[in-house]
Amino acid sequence: MLRRRDVLRTAGVGALAGLAGCARSGDGPDGDLRLVLANHVWGNAIRKRVGEFEDLAHRRVVISTMTADQVSSTYNVKLNASAPDIDVMMYRPLQEQLLFARNGWLADLTDLVVGDAEYDWADVQEGARERVTTEGRVFGVPIVTERSALYYRRDLVPDGPPTTLEELFSTAERLHDPASDMIGFAGRGQRNFAVSQFSSYLYSFGGDFIVDGRSGIATPEALAAYEYYGRLLREAGPLGVTNMSLEQITPIFAQGKVAFVIDADSVYTNFVDPKTSLVGDRTGFAPFPAGPAGSRPYNIASWGLAVNAFSPRRDAAWQFLRWASSPATVLAMQRDGIPGARTSAWQNPDAGAGFPPDLAASMAAGTATGVPRDRPDVVQVGRARDIVGRPMVAAILGEDFVAEARDTSDEFDDFLVRDARQRQI
């Protein structure tokens, strides 16, 4: 029979061994590789494949998944404290790259990507490469691309989807009947989150957020885009739309209460997944409808991977980036319906099989005519989005958006002057 002292001694040795094991597998250059991923279809897909990398690298991978906003806040808190416990960072190049690079939070990957023939950096789409490059230095690798696409209910528009914005408005208005549980059109209405989707309307009306280094949000083209978007959401959109983003739009479409949605094509599985959607088999996809300046949706590298500059496992982190964004992995992910940033994957006829045919056609159209940004290209993107989103909210609420745009444009000009001073890294 074990004596009490033996039990305690065994427990003590076990605890020490456990702690030593933790230290060996968790910390230091040889420890676990720690990933922070956003709750996004790419993150869910890579999680299923990460065992493949663990076998290759003989290293355990620990994944933390959170919403995009939480990811940003986590980086802000941890990297402000030079925390070494994040190795691989999933990030939004258009939102965070300039700021994070300026802060010295991202490891410089230039030599690694350029000097690796097998990795084939030139195979990554040019716009996506530019997006992760700041002042000639590469700070990340693009992993997901996306464009605005029109999601529609095929059973409600048997003659086919609208091809112009005016046609979209008239059809959505005709189908809009909230009393019968049918919303004509649902789109993002939250000031900050809606800006990225609104950009496609702005470009298709011939406008841009910044024109020749100055505010473009009070130009006639921008005012026309604000007016259209406001009218569309006000007259054919759901009640309370200014509190809506993708998280609120997806379920009401999936419940069959909406005829049209315009949002990112990379999240299409959320709209058609038979586990959550009642209308997945009746959902069609079409290119962004044309405005006066044609169909000009954004076409962006929405997510990338970077290496924390304070990580002691930077080499291993790069190995993960190299594997996760390699031609083979991107092709395999694209077959599973995740649009990547490699030309070779897009040119591979097999890769298209991962998408519904009409979505693949919409993606091809968006890639051909798209604009490689969906928000102001500045350091302080959060403040810029708040500023340019204000006339949009005024238009949705039926307020004097022209006065708001003029007022806001002056503020945006001042902001751009201040922001330019902060660009140096």
Partner: protein, 296 residues
């Protein structure tokens, strides 16, 4: 030279409290002092980046901001006063009902605790589902009685009142429990004497019970007011950054969070937080002074 017993005692006393002093210094004094220092600089992007000393510029910028800062101050007060007053009134009513023993009292008290156990973010998400203008159950119920659908959190006008009501739903039970604890300590004789003298129920409550419960009420008010002033998670979970598209539910906490994490303007954010701290301390001092005045 041998130490006297008194010297030895003094030394021991400092040794014993040293861990607490160090802990408070690290966890309270340093963050406060660092925040105060940041508020005097142009810290942006990363807090350890090079900064310039600006003096009181961040304070004048914040105090001169009529678009965001002052409306946020106003909303913070409206939210706090409305929520706490409603919670006090309802909490008092419930405490009076639960004061006397009755069958199922334990069950009732347990059920009352349920909202307190939920985290505010979970509460916010659940209420968002209930109040969703298109698929939420609230509008379905309103529809049954012929009331048109309401936007609730999707409306500029209805957002703050809706949030106040959610806060009341969650925190009234806490007020009830605090007041109930106070009520159980009150002697029964004064009320019985009033009853013998022919006082009505309302008179007994207003002239006997309420004055005796004064200290408990002030304590409950201070606790809930400080908590309500700091409310962040519920508002952020339901209205997002900036407290909504027209900043309609942006309180000081949400405003400070936005400047910190969405704008990375740490200097300005620190100034707002210092002003906010001063505001909270001021309110607590006023409530304490009033309590002492009433007590004396």
């Amino acid at each position: 030279m041998a130490r006297t017993l008194e010297q030895e005692n003094r030394r021991l006393k400092w040794t014993m409290i040293a861990p607490a002093v160090v802990f408070i210094g690290l966890m309270v004094v340093f963050p406060l002092a660092y925040t105060a220092w940041l508020s005097l600089t142009d810290a942006f992007g990363a807090v350890n980046a090079d900064t310039r000393f600006l003096g009181l510029t961040n304070y004048t910028d914040a105090l001169g901001d009529t678009r965001r800062f002052w409306p946020a101050v106003g909303r913070t007060f409206v939210f706090t006063v409305a929520a706490v007053v409603l919670e006090l009134v309802l909490g008092m009513a419930l405490a009076m009902l639960l004061r006397r023993p009755f069958r199922g009292m334990r069950w009732m008290r347990t059920i009352l605790m349920v909202p307190l156990l939920a985290t505010p973010v979970a509460v916010g998400v659940v209420w968002m589902l209930i109040l969703d203008p298109t698929v939420g159950i609230a509008n379905a119920i309103l529809g049954l009685v012929g009331i048109p659908p309401q936007p609730f959190l999707g409306s500029v006008a209805q957002s703050l009142p809706t949030l106040i009501l959610i806060d009341v739903w969650q925190w009234t039970p806490m007020m009830t429990l605090l007041l109930l604890a106070g009520l159980t300590t009150l002697p029964e004789e004064p009320e019985e004497a009033a009853l013998v003298d022919g006082a009505s129920a309302w008179q007994r409550f207003r002239l006997v019970t309420l004055p005796m419960l004064g200290t408990t009420i002030v304590t409950a008010l201070v606790l809930r007011s400080v908590d309500a002033l700091k409310t962040f998670d519920l508002i952020y979970a339901t209205k997002g950054a900036g407290g909504g598209s027209s900043y309609e539910a942006e309180t000081l906490n949400v405003y400070a969070y936005g400047i910190t994490f969405d704008y990375s303007e740490y200097g300005l954010a620190a100034a707002v937080l210092v002003l906010f701290t001063v505001l909270i301390i001021g309110i607590v001092v006023v409530l304490r002074l009033r309590s002492e005045k009433a007590g004396s």
